[in-house]
Subunit: 507 residues, 2 copies
């Protein structure tokens, strides 16, 4: 790696997935990993293998499937079991990394770990060595580094490198650093750690004060050559450094930073959309780079300027980040060929069977909706993302509601043997009635935690995307569906969550 | 003002309102202005008076109502008419400011203004003087300052101060600056502009690369003592510096920055929620400070740490920003007194009439919903926010929908004289059918641009908040409503937008 390349380490599947409401199934993680490979990230942190059997399985599958294309990383605390389990998940990958962490700040040493400095150094060294016995690519993170005494941080980092760490990652775990302060931390390490040239310096910044991107860039200015980040800035609390922002800052201000990344920036918008769809974490309209307004100009004075010369108010072009606008593209008479072309230009490759299924749905949609937008097509494709098990399918349903009447839903569900089960229920409005009827037939009681509808395109017959998050037996399940009728998509989304729970209960 | 106080200049009502989808009615602007006063901002930029009669009226009303409590500012280009019009709107306020701007970068000089350097300086001086003849508090902004040649920027700033500018605002109009670069710009001004001590240096940073907050903080480090910002970071494209983030960074890292603001941080969450409600611009869950996850801890390891000692993973306390959680507070047997207490502790003061109306709605809601959360109460209060004119009211409605049937809505609307108009329509699903029936009765055709439903609280009987954005005669109108039945709230939200359009058409 030349010294002007900054490695991009994506932790959407680990730190991102760990945040409330963001849990993903293994199938969803595989889909995101595939897009991360296309995006060109250097390292994918695929999970925390010892955390759960599901996490282990996801890391193992991602390592096996994508470990020849990019480096797959698994997280481990400084414990033997963690490291052994991480290696177990990674061992079949061509390129793998074990990421070992241990907190070093006084507040974490005293209150969480109850260990003194000597014990911290000893444990870190022992565990880095153990990991290194398995794998040549080892990352060590002194957790809460930004609040760690600088001399102790230098000592830990030096010993970790001596023990075999090839990357030392400096986390601002609680999002407390400022750019100048963080620059100083990295500079201190460069100056005072004698063996620092034997490792890549990395950053992992949280966004509690809105400074994660700026702190990561300050670290790069001071000599860091790896940035840990997530798509849409997902992650614990206010999240991590947003991959799309830090990458576009380095690219747009290459004149200033003098470094580059291996990211194919045209894949930024598609992967942002995918991750938002899979996790249900909506990207706000005024979010930098991937928000809906990021490239929109409302003020007359700006529009005037843009018409004269784009650069008056635009430092990036929407195409640079693969922005899918609301271009009017297809109608009901568009053929298979035009449809396939459009799908490809949106960056999706589909196998023949999936293509045929989506084409059929496209024809049905085009019958209802005169104008099909790019965003409608993306929605059709992403409807296929969740390979959720389907114990129950909706055969027919009917709702009746209004003022002065009691909202009622009648539903027929087909079970896996095709047998029809029919029942009715009342509720506060037809959506609630539908949910109650689905519960009655499936015998599964769910508590609705989140309910969200957004339009995926504009126009009088816009499709509504419904996302639900329900708690069943204390566990959260998500469901999602798109349709022009939001009662129908609500029913399908809710049933998807129920089906996921049913599959889990049967296993 | 002491030198360690940083003034907070809020431009939510000007730059924020100018972004796509954020337009507010005068009544909505008044409500936001009232909360900005309670928040303690030093200056409210209330609008751009010459832009439209509506903008003028809003600035005038805000100046008259709040001009004794905080400084009210109006924007003006370097044109006589702009300045005269701004003063006309501001003149009755006790404390007012005219904000004059002119672009100075070569790209704007050549492509937009077609003026040379001499003409820029001459125009700026002439117009600052004209404004100063009206008002002692004058702010001058060299637009696109971050891309302006430094020697020319120094020249313009010096001349503007000589002409009477008391604040010089340095905008990064296109969000191109980096923290170190922006620090350097402010340092250069401090060093090379001989009369710089006669003015307050201000910043106005855009967030295109995710660096607006960091750039503003870098400016403060270099000596700036005013920050222009917006609630939730609203504004053109990716928006402006987020007020809540920059204020909490200065407060949390007071040890580092050594300055303070006059902001009452406990009002940050309530005003964020209000602005999101009024504009329909959703705040993403992983947004710093005011996002739903900002104070949530999911990972077991973090929860363990938090239980041992809060500061292991928390640098701010939710109470510091007035976070309204999902506390279970009231049930149907809670009385008037408990309800009024709760409203006050949520930071709302209501006149008796409004209180009685909301209490009545609370009782109806408590009948449907066993558990009333803080967020439900906020929703009830905010349902009252839009003082939209009401030509039409819903008397009764009924919908019938499902597979194999054609979705149909039957609606009775009462006009302003109480006369009932009844009609029915079909649609793609019951919501669409309701919209069609409303259009049919009101005679107004609308194109749905955005449709959004979110749950305002959790639980099986969560209330749904519907927000619509519709285009009528080429103009955008928004509507919003909350109910446990989303068909009902969809109907009310759509009708609110239609009523706004009807009022406009009649004027």
């Amino acid at each position: 790696m030349s010294d002007d390349t900054v490695k991009i380490f994506d932790t959407t599947l680990r730190d991102g997935e760990q945040s409330p409401g963001c849990s993903m199934t293994t199938a969803e993680k595989m889909k995101v990993a595939k897009e991360l490979v296309k995006l060109g990230v250097d390292i994918i942190e695929a999970g925390f293998p010892i955390a759960s059997p599901g996490d282990f399985e996801a890391v193992r599958k991602i390592a096996n499937e994508f470990g020849s294309q990019t480096t797959i990383c698994g997280l481990a605390r400084c414990r033997k079991d963690d490291i052994d389990r991480a290696w177990e998940a990674l061992k079949d990958a061509e390129k793998s990394r074990i990421h070992v962490f241990l907190a070093t700040s006084s507040i974490h040493r005293e209150h969480k770990l109850k260990m003194n400095k000597e014990q911290i150094v000893e444990t870190a060294v022992e565990m880095v060595k153990r990991a290194r016995d398995y794998c040549p690519d080892i990352e060590f993170s002194p957790e809460d580094a930004a609040r760690t005494e600088k001399d102790f941080l230098c000592e830990v980092v030096e010993k970790a490198i001596d023990a075999g760490a090839t990357t030392v990652n400096i986390p601002d775990t609680v999002g407390y650093a400022t750019p100048a302060h963080f620059h100083d931390v990295i500079t201190t390490l460069k100056k005072n750690v004698p063996n620092i040239d034997r490792a890549v310096i990395s950053t992992h910044c949280h966004n509690d004060l809105g400074l994660a991107v700026a702190n990561s860039l300050a670290a790069v200015e001071a000599g860091a050559r790896q940035i840990e980040c997530t798509i849409n800035g997902l992650g614990e609390r206010a999240g991590n450094c947003a991959l799309e922002e830090v990458v576009m800052a380095l690219k747009t201000r290459a004149d200033y930073y003098g470094v580059h990344t291996n990211i194919n920036t045209k894949r930024l918008y598609p992967i942002s959309h995918l991750v938002s769809t899979v996790t249900g974490m909506t990207v706000q309209r005024n979010k930098a780079i991937v928000g809906k307004n990021a490239f929109a100009h409302e003020a007359g004075i700006h529009q005037h300027g843009i018409l004269q010369e784009r650069t008056t108010y635009e430092i990036m072009h929407p195409d640079d980040v693969g922005y899918v606008g609301s271009n009017l593209v297809l109608g009901k008479h568009s053929g298979r060929h035009a449809f396939r072309d459009r799908i490809q230009s949106l960056g999706h490759t589909l196998d023949d069977e999936t293509f045929e299924r989506i084409f059929k749905e496209f024809i049905v949609l085009a019958d209802k909706k005169k104008e099909i937008y790019d965003s409608d097509i993306v929605a059709l494709i992403e409807n296929q993302v969740t390979d959720a098990p389907e114990k129950w399918k909706i055969a027919r349903f009917h709702t009746s509601a209004g003022t002065g009447t009691i909202a009622t839903a009648t539903i027929e569900l087909a079970d896996e043997n095709g047998k029809i089960h029919c029942d009715a229920a009342t509720g506060d409005g037809p959506v609630d009635a539908v949910f109650r009827a689905l519960e009655r037939i499936s015998g599964i009681t769910a508590v609705l935690e989140q309910y969200h509808v957004g339009s995926v395109s504009s126009g009088k017959d816009a499709q509504g995307e419904v996302r639900v998050e329900v708690r069943i037996n204390g566990e959260l399940f998500t469901g999602r569906s798109v349709s022009t009728d939001i009662i129908e998509s609500s029913a399908k989304a809710y049933l998807q969550a129920i089906n996921k729970a049913a599959a889990k209960l049967e296993n």
